[in-house]
């Protein structure tokens, strides 16, 4: 049954305005480059192929690439062997992440934290119900590796691995994929604060408490701890976002 007015239908199916689509492409590719998912020197697919994959016109795509060039995130070479290439030197990674963090409003980060906490909490509760001793071997190794990791990138990688292992222990492929998606979207930003020893130690203690609750089969406690862990992590990010001295340096 169709209760939509014809005007509403027209609005729903009206083409997205070009500007919004250009911005969406800039953000998608810009995030992927800033977060290190596309690496320095990597060649992007050809313009028509890329436009088709992203579902935008080649005109919109060209505008987006121009914006990315202006941000210094891609470079274009003409002629044989030419094309569009990612520019993301490792030594600037921290600056790029900082810029990316500043592109998120605190409201967006808060909403992300709500979503992530809901998923992480539900996942932890299921893991407490379903994990057996064997499922906990991998996260147990990650606990040790996380405590020993010295730089923030390694800490971030192992933190991510620990949470994927917990999701897998919940026996849910959907929740595992969701966890991986969060890490792709925000993971490299979440590991920014790990350079501070105190935050690293707190995260380590939270991981251990969460692990123990899951091992004990205490689903409610596991859920509470996982939610707190996510909220804490995003709170640190928001604090960085609001810290003007950090922004200025």
């Amino acid at each position: 049954m169709n209760r939509l007015s014809s005007a509403a239908r027209r609005a729903i199916f009206a083409p997205l305005d070009t500007e919004a689509r250009v911005e969406a492409v800039v953000r998608r590719l810009g995030d992927a480059i800033s977060l290190g998912l596309l690496t320095d020197g990597e060649q992007l697919p050809g313009e028509s192929d890329l436009a088709e994959r992203l579902g935008v016109s080649t005109v919109s795509l060209r505008e987006a690439l121009m914006a990315l060039r202006q941000q210094g995130l891609v470079t274009t070479r003409r002629g044989r062997g030419g094309g569009t290439f990612v520019r993301a030197p490792v030594e600037n990674l921290h600056d790029r992440l900082r810029q990316r963090l500043q592109a998120h409003t605190t409201e967006e980060l808060r909403d992300l934290s709500d979503h992530y906490a809901a998923v992480a909490g539900g996942t932890a509760r299921l893991a407490a119900d379903r994990a057996d001793k064997h499922d906990l071997e991998a996260p147990s190794r990650s606990l040790r590796d996380f405590a020993d990791a010295v730089d923030s990138a390694a800490r971030g990688r192992i933190d991510g691995r620990f949470h994927v292992e917990i999701a897998a222990a919940a026996q849910s492929s959907r929740l595992t994929r969701e966890e991986i998606r969060f890490q792709t979207e925000i993971g490299p930003l979440l590991c920014l604060p790990f350079s501070q020893a105190k935050i690293h130690r707190t995260a380590d203690a939270q991981h251990r408490a969460l692990f123990d609750a899951i091992k004990a089969g205490d689903g409610l406690q596991a859920r509470t701890l996982a939610e707190e862990h996510v909220r804490d992590a995003v709170r640190h990010l928001i604090e960085l976002r609001l810290d003007e001295t950090w922004q200025a340096d």
Partner: protein
């Protein structure tokens, strides 16, 4: 057979044969990979050199053929090298997968420990079990976050060349495909019936009260009390659990 206690010995026996037949069929496919890999590696060793990742590309026609022939059951197939086997890379999976759109593609994993948290694959059951026992293994059900992000069973067998472990040949069976294959036989059993792996993890079931992925504890004790009957699935390490009929329990 424990026919006196079982709910319906014919349907139970049929389900056991179905489970065993399906997974033995997957092992037959894996055996091809084992043999072809062993032959390839022995040939290279005969040339007085160590194999490289490029040499393993010779397995590609076989793996592609397996995936298209067994599309309803097998979604990933290949050979996973023992770290240190190859001369050009520290570790390698010659692994092919059928994507959701039906296309067969190689899986290219980041195995660099400096950039990937998942570079060490030697702790996964599908690798560790054949390596430590020298026997074939059924691992899972588990969420395969390394390759497919799917809830899967991985069947694997060791590849041995000149008496030395060279890696494992394996195949992925997504749990939904396994369930589609064994579901009808399970549903023909009267009363609740489900398959568990050796750790008590439900693998497929005919009842909403025991769903795949849940853990069933103390099955042996329940069997000893006459509450359930355990039926091994021949040489496959899964056990079919059926309810004991009240009238059959003395």
């Amino acid at each position: 057979m424990a026919s006196r206690l079982s709910t319906d010995s014919d349907t139970v026996a049929e389900a056991v044969v179905r489970v065993s037949g399906m997974l033995e069929h997957v092992f037959t496919t894996i055996q091809q990979t084992c043999e072809q890999t062993a032959t390839l590696l022995a040939h290279i060793s005969g040339q007085g050199r160590r194999p490289t990742s490029a040499d393993l590309a010779q397995l590609q026609p076989l793996l592609r053929e397996q995936l298209s022939r067994e599309a309803e059951l097998i979604s990933g197939a290949g050979f996973i090298a023992e770290p240190g086997l190859l001369s050009d890379v520290p570790a390698w999976l010659e692994w092919w997968q059928t994507r959701a759109d039906g296309e067969v593609q190689p899986m290219l994993l980041d195995l660099d420990p400096d950039t990937s948290a998942f570079s060490d694959y030697t702790s996964w059951d599908w690798f560790a079990l054949p390596r430590t026992t020298g026997q074939r293994a059924v691992s899972g059900p588990y969420v395969d976050y390394l390759c497919s992000d799917e809830y899967s069973l991985t069947l694997a067998a060791p590849v041995v060349v000149d008496g030395a472990f060279a890696g494992v040949a394996a195949a992925d069976v997504y749990l939904r495909h396994f369930e589609a294959g064994v579901g009808p036989a399970l549903r023909r059993i009267e009363g609740p019936a489900f398959l568990v792996n050796p750790r008590g993890r439900v693998t497929a079931s005919n009842t909403a009260t025991q769903l795949a992925g849940s853990l069933v504890r103390d099955l042996d004790a329940a069997a000893a009390r006459g509450e359930v009957v355990l039926h091994p699935c021949e040489a496959i390490p899964l056990v079919l659990v059926t309810a004991a009929r009240a009238s059959s329990v003395q």
